[in-house]
């Protein structure tokens, strides 16, 4: 219903544009005495002015209803349910609402109690009222806006200035969206994490070594509280990141050196984009490769060496991730090496140093801040990588440095704690937000440090 209004919106805008232009054309021309009437702006500006006034009010109404409509409806249904006296002790209004929303409240079977039917009826009615109201306001807003614009349209109206001001405000609001996203991330993570830390102390979370978030169904069961010591998860994340960096660090740096110093221009022209393809392949593809191809290979090789290998080993995930982040290291290191002034290299070569001596003793040290920045960004990328570890690493929270063992990571835990769960009041689901907050801050710090290091380094040679 409201979906159709989104399609009507462009029509309204077009109507406003047309109305504004015809009005402007009617205003211009000659007056009764034969004097030419000069408008302040072009007819197009009047048209744009009318378009803005006829399209922005209904657009705002649609956005507001899309964001807050279901909150209003749900609030109303819950209030009616509470007032109806139909609820039992074991059936809260939130439960009923969830059943109704997910379509579980069918007409027969166990979810067809009187409160369900009642809630379904109230919900249908409330939605009907909401749709009617939104549609009404939508057209009233559009009509009112157009009427207002038309009534203000005289030869003296500075239409272009008005339109430009509206455009500037719209542009500004668009650039605020990115800030709002960050605020949204920080606030939502903080809010949910605070609820988690009210249940589990931060000391236990950051220092505890026992992780078993599966809580029992009944409060009186043994082990009902779960254990939320996240150290094994951090250790697993570090292990996989270390494996990934052990591969991507040296290989990425050497690849960058080859591209920057040894490769011919034509080789560089095809090698660089092909290398960057690696980063363009979706991580779910690397994850599938790690799980279906690398995992069994690693296991076979490990067992041939007489080692005990878990079927989901840290090594397989770390290998795939290491390959995936090679381009991050190599392209940023390549940039850093190329930013070092030619004179340094030429001076070293002129003194009789070989190319490799020049690279090792002059170029790499000179480019070191940029290379460190590249490594930091790669680490941040590896820590936040999800799909490869979800598909190839395990769920067991082991504290080990053995790459053949199964470990788990922060991202895997966030995903497994939240996927498929719809309730957000248990410590188990809230733990995911605490992990998310930790992840966000660690990656944020790495990124900030890397950005500062790289910027300083650039300034040094400019």
């Amino acid at each position: 219903m409201i979906g159709i209004l989104w399609l009507v919106l462009p029509l309204l805008a077009a109507a406003g544009f047309w109305a504004g232009r015809s009005r402007a054309r009617a205003l211009s021309g000659a007056d009764a005495d034969g004097h030419r009437i000069v408008l302040h702006s072009l007819p197009t500006h009047y048209a744009q002015y009318a378009l803005a006034w006829s399209a922005i009010p209904p657009l705002l109404i649609l956005v507001v209803s899309a964001l807050f409509g279901s909150i209003l409806v749900d609030g109303w249904v819950i209030a009616q349910l509470e007032a109806s006296g139909l609820l039992r002790e074991t059936l809260s209004s939130a439960d009923v609402l969830r059943d109704v929303h997910t379509g579980l409240a069918n007409t027969t079977g166990e979810n067809s109690s009187p409160p369900h039917t009642f809630a379904q009826n109230v919900l249908d009615r409330a939605r009907g009222v909401l749709n009617l109201g939104v549609t009404g306001f939508f057209f009233v807003g559009a009509g009112g806006g157009l009427w207002f614009a038309r009534s203000r349209m005289t030869t003296a109206l500075r239409a272009r200035n008005h339109v430009e001001r509206i455009v500037h405000v719209a542009l500004f609001l668009c650039s605020v969206v990115a800030v709002l996203t960050t605020i949204g991330i920080v606030v939502s993570l903080f809010f949910e994490a605070a609820r988690f830390f009210a249940l589990v102390s931060p000391a236990e979370f950051f220092l505890g070594t026992q992780w078993s978030p599966q809580t029992a169904l009944r409060a009186d069961q043994v082990g009902s509280s779960g254990a939320f010591g996240a150290v094994p998860i951090f250790a697993g994340t570090l292990l996989i990141t270390a494996i990934a960096m052990a591969i991507s660090g040296p290989i990425g740096l050497m690849a960058a050196i080859h591209l920057a110093f040894y490769a011919s221009a034509s080789a560089r022209a095809w090698m660089k984009p092909v290398l960057e393809l690696i980063a363009g392949i979706p991580t779910v593809v690397w994850g599938s490769f790690a799980a279906l191809t690398l995992g069994p290979q690693v296991r076979m090789i490990g067992e041939a060496l007489g080692l005990e290998v878990a079927s989901e080993s840290a090594l397989a995930a770390g290998l795939a991730m290491g390959v995936m982040i090679i381009p991050f290291v190599s392209s940023l290191s390549d940039d850093a090496l190329n930013a070092v002034p030619r004179s340094l290299r030429e001076a070293s070569l002129a003194m009789g140093a070989t190319e490799s001596e020049t690279i090792r003793k002059v170029m790499v040290p000179a480019a070191l801040p940029g290379i460190v920045g590249a490594f930091l960004l790669a680490v941040s990328r590896a820590i936040g990588e999800t799909m490869i570890v979800v598909m190839a690493a395990g769920l067991a929270a082991n504290m080990t440095a053995n790459p053949f063992a199964a470990v788990t990571t922060v991202t895997v835990q966030i995903l497994t704690l939240l996927v498929g769960d719809q309730e957000f009041d248990s410590a188990k689901t809230l733990a995911a937000f605490a992990l998310g907050l930790t992840l966000f801050f660690v990656t944020l710090c790495l990124n900030l440090v890397a950005l500062v290091v790289v910027r300083r380094f650039r300034e040094e040679y400019e």
């Binding site: 080859h258 392949i281 779910v284 390959v323 498929g420 990656t443």
Partner: protein
């Protein structure tokens, strides 16, 4: 008094040789590093293409089906209601059993029927409903075989392995070989893989639902992130005053580009699903989350494209009396469009491959129906890959690789479009 001993130049020679050897070793290492990275990429592509080969065709069997009016038209009037109530499994099974009249035991008859895919009866139903006048005649149709028979026929199941360790029994292999000898088994193109929805049965599972879900999600992402991203880039590059706030926005956008994607999933879950009560598993919410993720990419690309426009164009426009807004929208922005489009296509390609945030907002459910709107529950291509990757049936391995090939195909097409846009622009200027 010391004079150079005769062997001093020799020592220098040895040092030089050593230094040159080190140079060669270092050079070889650098080349090997790049070789490793490129061969890992090649290994990935080759192994996935190879694994996906078997999904191109689907083993099928040709059966002469007696379209028995008693089973297919229970009400006897040929109406739609009658056809809907019909038993389509029976004629297919009878047709297969008719080829092996010697199979009498109940268990063996069941094993025989299991050669066929569960999809056979749905195929028959579609055929009969399309042309009800065939009821009463005997027709030759081609039906898909089950995933295990398919694997056996494509050589993925070794008949030398102990019978208990494989999914297809010796008797079944015998029947399949008899059918093959009769020339009834064929390998037609597996169109179902591209045009059917998801299924629990590997031989019936298709990508259409995921492709449509991806398209709908990407549409929402584009509709939100493109206008907002371009407007933000125009504001920051052309109009923003140099002050604290602009600095904050700039640092913020750079950081947002590096935030792990799963964090955006948490945002979508906590804000769009829990606070705003938007529908779970819907392309609408997926598209909004991906739009927020893609926004920094588009803004950064847009600003780069805008700043690359020569200042002379802006100054010329201002010089002949355009307002600053007119100068930007009439002269600077059109010049920057190719750069912005290239950045946008690359951002879209990245969000097409994104999985983790969509898992968080519930796009992991098994959904067999094709989505028709942006608030229908659906899944997307990368999530489909994730789901099939975890499925226990062996035949899903090939499907996973096939889905990856399709996803990579879309990505290649999008990147080719980006390159094409850039080339066109370069030719013009």
């Amino acid at each position: 008094m010391s004079s150079p001993t005769p062997d001093a130049p020799l020592a220098a020679d040895g040092r030089l040789r050593r230094r040159y050897r080190q140079e060669r070793v270092f050079r070889a290492f650098a080349l090997a590093a790049i070789g490793f990275a490129l061969s890992a990429l090649a290994g990935l592509l080759v192994s996935i293409s190879y694994q996906s080969l078997s999904v191109i065709t689907q083993s099928s069997v040709e059966l002469d089906v007696v379209l028995d009016p008693d089973a297919l038209d229970p009400l006897g009037d040929g109406s739609a209601a009658s056809l809907a109530a019909a038993n389509y499994a029976k004629p297919v099974r009878s047709a297969l059993r008719a080829l092996f009249p010697e199979v009498r035991k109940r268990r063996e008859r069941k094993a025989l029927v299991r050669l066929l895919s569960d999809g056979a009866e749905y195929d028959l139903r579609a055929l009969v409903e399309a042309s009800p006048e065939l009821i009463g005649s005997t027709q030759t149709f081609v039906f898909p075989l089950s995933d295990d028979v398919d694997l056996f026929l494509k050589g993925s199941i070794d008949s030398e392995v102990d019978e208990a360790d494989r999914k297809i029994s010796d008797r079944q292999i015998g029947w399949v070989e008899t059918l093959d000898a009769q020339g009834r088994i064929s390998q037609p193109w597996n169109w179902r893989f591209l045009f059917a929805g998801d299924s629990r049965e590997p031989e019936l599972a298709g990508l259409q639902g995921a492709i449509r879900g991806s398209m709908l999600t990407l549409l929402i992402t584009f509709l939100l992130s493109f206008p907002i991203g371009v407007c933000a880039a125009v504001y920051l590059e052309e109009f923003a005053p140099k002050n604290r706030f602009t600095d904050v926005v700039e640092v913020n956008i750079n950081n947002l580009a590096a935030v792990p994607s799963i964090i955006f999933g948490l945002l979508g879950l906590a804000v769009f699903l829990n606070i705003f009560g938007m529908p779970r598993s819907a392309p609408l919410v997926g598209g909004v989350v991906l739009a927020l993720m893609t926004l920094p990419t588009i803004i950064i690309a847009g600003r780069a494209a805008l700043s690359a426009v020569p200042p002379s164009i802006r100054e010329a426009a201002l010089g002949v009396g355009a307002s600053p807004t007119q100068a930007v929208f009439h002269h600077v922005l059109p010049q920057a469009v190719p750069g912005i489009l290239t950045g946008t296509i690359i951002g879209m390609a990245r969000s097409l491959g994104e999985t983790a945030p969509l898992l968080m907002i519930g796009m992991v459910a098994f959904i067999a129906d094709l989505p028709t709107g942006v608030d229908d529950p659906s899944t997307v291509l990368p999530v489909q890959i994730f789901l099939w990757n975890d499925a226990p049936e062996r035949a899903f391995v090939a499907r996973t690789s096939g889905a990856i090939v399709v996803l990579l195909g879309f990505l290649i097409a999008m990147n080719a479009a980006a390159v094409w846009v850039r080339r066109r622009f370069e030719m013009r200027s």
